[in-house]
Amino acid sequence: MSFLNRQSNILDFTLSSLLRRKGKNLALTIVYSFVVFLVASVVFFVLSLKREATLALRDSPEIIVQRMMAGRHDLIPVVYAEKLRGIRGVQRAKPRLWGYYYDPTSGANYTVIASDDLKESPGEVALGAGVARTMGSFEGKVPFKAHDGSFVNLKVKGVMASESELVSSDLVLMNEGDFRMLFNYPAESATDIVLSVRNQKEFATIAAKIAHDLPDTRPILRDELLRTYDAVFDWRGGMVVVVLTGALLAFVILAWDKATGLSAEEKREIGVLKAIGWGTGDVLLMKFWEGAAVSLTSFFVGVLAAYVHVYFGSFVLFEPALKGWSVLYPKFALTPILSAFHVGSIFVLTVVPYTVATIVPSWRAATIDPDAVMRA
């Protein structure tokens, strides 16, 4: 009981002390919060992007088979699909037709896919929201430049929903015949073949069989894709945090400086406290609560601000860095996630360095000789 009372009494005094020196403490808290905000924004952003990518990839086919020619991705014979269907464990093997189309007027690259949805609609296309925005349409038709330099006008059947912008923004879906005509794609070739496999455990065996039966192909497993994306996001996130080290260091120096640079008034106050009966331990406790109050406030404010920034403010501060010179930048919102693990990482990256930087200065302050006060 007396332990709690002691804590609460000293905490009481600490808070009133902090409020008495509003200017200095406010400045520190703002900078501290900003640092937390930066780190937290990066962590939340990367975390959410990873999540979105994972979700998006979940619908991707289990195995994609591509044909290789001299180490590069080449067209694959449609007849390979038969062979692949024959492998035990493969449910379906479907050839895919897709490629990139460069639009000279906008300078943008679109991904063109021959889609079954448009099998019955030759001469029509479905556009992703980004494409619709950049390509001007005239009387509901959009022009495509064919392989021979002529222009083909295709009717816009519809624009893909904005919820899917992250994945569909740059897509153009068209009829297979139109695709082959536009790009002069040989009739017996496809871009790749996708397989659906029943049993997850058989991926490795099937991949091995494919490599054996069709040695000029390479199978790409969805799991590998997921792993690679995860690793890339993590890595990028980690790199940015390392880059932020500069900011963190500056912050730590500021914290240390602030803690060491006690004003004469503060020194006097601590001297008086010690003279009237506070021990070093008590003053240290006061300094601890001071640090805790500043840290917790800044941490909370910083994390909250980052949360709002990333999930509700569309991470405006990162946009210039991410957009680069991409012409088709999808408009999308990230789904909020909160993870104790990631909050813990943010804590270790911000509050811990601050605390460590202030331990020695706090202790120095706490060991001020009460004697000096008597003398004054």
Partner: protein, 228 residues
């Protein structure tokens, strides 16, 4: 009973500005009496006061409180004893600005762990004793010299100490307030407390409440006389 046995206090030992503040002083302070340490500035009376009051440790020699030796204690234990046994009144009062008089009085008791409510009651009671209830919630910056003096004394009394230690308490007071101060000390002595005062003000050491006078010069005791 406070006892100092052959205490020395040296500052900056071994350095060119080495300074011996207290030089081989042995002194016993009796209970329930008012003892004055008299001497000019630099005589070591303030240092001796801080040694007796367990605020500093002697370089050599022993200090004992009620027979228990305290000079070798770690700071934590020394502070505990000091908190419970001593109440200090400083020359400049040293009240903390920006908080109320009431909070100032409660401060020494914070680390001990009583509940805030109990402390507040005790503090208010002390204000009543000094007839200052209405000033309890005022900021210390707004108090007059006399009021600040009384707050400083009240603060020294919050933990109900057996010993009151005052260092040049009348240095910034006029005659009227100085006389008042000595009266308060007399009252406290009558309550059974031990008082030690360091001063070179005649108003203090010639006051009739003084039981014993110890004269100091250059860190040594030159004369110790009692009063009946």
């Amino acid at each position: 009973m406070l006892e100092a046995r052959q205490v020395h206090k040296v500052f900056n030992a071994g350095k060119p500005n080495e300074f011996v503040a207290v030089d081989d002083v042995s002194l016993t302070v009796e209970d329930r009496k008012l003892t004055v340490l008299k001497g000019p500035s630099g005589s070591g009376k303030t240092t001796l006061l801080s040694l007796l009051g367990c605020m500093a440790r002697p370089t050599s020699g022993r200090v004992a409180v009620d027979g228990r030796e305290v000079s070798g204690l770690p700071e934590k234990f020394l502070t505990e004893i000091r908190r419970k046994t001593f109440g200090f009144v400083f020359q400049q009062f040293h009240l903390i600005k920006g908080i109320t008089a009431l909070e100032n009085v409660m401060l020494p008791a914070y680390p001990i762990g009583g509940s805030h409510g109990t402390l507040k009651k005790r503090a208010l009671h002390l204000f009543e004793l000094f007839g200052m209830q209405q000033k309890a919630q005022s900021r210390v910056e707004w108090l007059s010299g006399g009021e600040a003096q009384r707050v400083a004394i009240a603060r020294a009394l919050i933990n109900d100490p057996a010993v009151i230690v005052a260092d040049e308490p009348t240095a910034h007071l006029d005659t009227k307030l100085s006389v008042e101060f000595m009266d308060v000390l007399g009252r406290l002595k009558a309550e059974g407390r031990t008082i030690i005062v360091a001063s070179h003000d005649p108003l203090v050491y010639e006051s009739k409440v003084v039981d014993r006078m110890v004269a100091m010069r250059d860190g040594r005791v030159v004369q110790a006389e009692g009063r009946s």
